[in-house]
């Protein structure tokens, strides 16, 4: 078995070379035709297809495209972000973290004096921090932060949502989705000398978006219970 697995790629390669040799040799005999659909026209057609595709490709609306992060984060950096979040004293400290971006904000009117925070998430990748405001403005503010150096940080299919139901704040994880991703890569001959960011599957080893954070601020008369950690002021 091991011998087979060692030599199989080589055998496949040799086979492929053989097929290519056959194809090249067959098509090498350029036969000129007096009339009819000659080889010449195939060549012209081929060049046209290439040109059209190239023009089309460069007029594609590339603002829709995501770009590969220039400095993808590794395990240690991601852990550092987690630690920083843990140790954050207040929202100001969070805002100062370069690695985090605000993805979404909610401001929800709240009259009651007890808030239960419920999360369907097991809390692996999202931190839920709460702070009791000094004012009594009858408003709950929620800010969603996500790691900005990850591939997917846009707020659509995989966005968290919050919903108030009586005195329960439901934090709803995005529904599990199967995302399809097209990666338009540059050629290896191009990337050999251009210092471009390379797309790697490791980006996903820490989840899709890296550490995320929901920062909840409640009026000071409200008592909070549930899946939440408190930020002492």
């Amino acid at each position: 078995m091991t011998i087979l697995t060692t030599f199989l790629p080589i055998l496949i390669m040799i086979g492929l070379v053989g097929v290519c040799f056959f194809v090249i040799k067959k098509s090498f005999n350029f036969k000129r035709k007096k009339r009819g659909f000659g080889t010449n026209r195939f060549l012209v057609g081929y060049i046209l297809v290439l040109l059209i595709a190239t023009i089309l490709f460069y007029v594609l609306p590339d603002d829709e495209f995501l770009s590969v992060p220039k400095n993808p984060l590794g395990w240690s950096e991601l852990e550092q972000i987690q630690n920083n979040i843990y140790q954050a004293d207040d929202q100001e400290a969070i805002d100062q973290m370069e690695e985090l971006d605000v993805v979404n904000e909610w401001s929800i009117p709240f009259q009651k004096d007890e808030l239960i925070i419920s999360s369907t998430n097991n809390g692996e990748y999202i931190f839920i921090l709460a702070e009791v405001k000094s004012e009594m403005d009858n408003t709950i503010e929620v800010v969603h932060y996500a790691t900005n150096s990850m591939l997917l940080k846009r707020n659509d299919q995989i966005a968290y949502d919050v919903e108030l139901e009586n005195n329960t704040l439901n934090i709803m994880s995005p529904n599990p989705v199967n995302l399809k991703l097209q990666h338009f890569d540059a050629e290896f001959t191009t990337t050999q000398f251009s210092k471009t960011a390379q797309f790697k599957t490791e980006y996903f080893s820490f989840g899709i978006r890296g550490p995320e954070l929901l920062y909840i601020k409640v009026p000071n008369n409200v008592k909070i219970t549930g899946d939440v950690e408190f930020v002492e002021k």
Binding site: C20, L50, S67, T190
Partner: protein, 248 residues
């Protein structure tokens, strides 16, 4: 009787022009092999997936890499073909000697490599456009390449293709020198792939090639290495064939 002086370089250029027209098989075979390469990469040159508790991601990568690899093969094989009898003596119908014949072949292979390099880079766009319009996707992620980067990439591709052509040309010339090499050379190449497989998992030759050329990160050094290699290969071919007779 005084004979007119022959300007070698002018003759080489004439032969080059002649070969650009008459070796049209190079273009058709290039097209055939690139179309095959494109078909191979229709579903993406590589694909993979990650699935966690929340979501799973499937991704497909589109690029010309497969086509470029196929084009390398094309350069190698078709350079062998133009050293075969049917093509080798084409220019001996008209004015030539070994040197001008080889030099014009070199020029022709360079021209063909330029065409092949540009088209092979362009084929990636065909795959990307097809993927964009016909395949469903939630996200498109594109490797950012500046125009300058693209030009350099094309240039590097051309160099690689030309190097493969030079290899093929040498192999073809050696085979023309003695038919025994038809057996010897493939045996050596295939054999070299197995050498080192037990300890290294990959062939020592391939590792060396990858280290010398593929992992070179300085463009200047890379160009110098390529020019040196190609020059050496052609020099060998020319030296060998300079003693060969024209058999029709």
């Amino acid at each position: 009787m005084s004979l007119p002086e022959i300007n070698t370089w002018r003759l080489v250029r004439k032969q080059h022009a002649f070969k650009l027209k008459s070796y049209a098989g190079m273009y058709t075979s290039l097209m055939a092999i690139q179309v095959i390469g494109m078909l191979f990469s229709l579903g993406g040159v590589s694909s993979g997936g990650v699935s966690g508790d929340e979501h799973s991601i499937e991704f497909r990568t589109y690029s010309s890499n497969v086509v470029i690899a196929f084009t390398f093969l094309w350069a190698f094989i078709s350079s062998i073909l133009i050293t075969t009898r049917a093509y080798r003596n084409d220019d001996f119908t008209f004015v030539t000697n070994r040197l001008t014949s080889n030099l014009s072949n070199l020029l022709f292979l360079l021209s063909a490599s330029v065409i092949a390099g540009i088209t092979s880079i362009m084929t990636g766009n065909v795959n990307k456009v097809i993927a964009y319009f016909f395949y469903e996707s939630d996200y498109i992620i594109a490797t950012d390449i500046t125009f300058q980067g693209l030009l350099m990439g094309t240039f590097v591709t051309i160099l690689y293709i030309f190097a493969f052509a030079a290899c093929g040309y040498l192999v073809g010339t050696i085979v023309q020198f003695h038919k025994l090499f038809i057996v010897v050379i493939p045996t050596l190449i295939i054999g070299s792939m197995f050498i080192g497989t037990n300890t290294h998992d990959t062939s020592l030759l391939l590792v060396w090639i990858m280290d010398t050329y593929g992992k070179e990160t300085s463009i200047l050094l890379f160009v110098l290495k390529m020019i040196g290699t190609v020059g050496l290969l052609f020099l060998l071919s020319i030296t060998l064939s300079n003693r060969m007779e024209v058999k029709q």
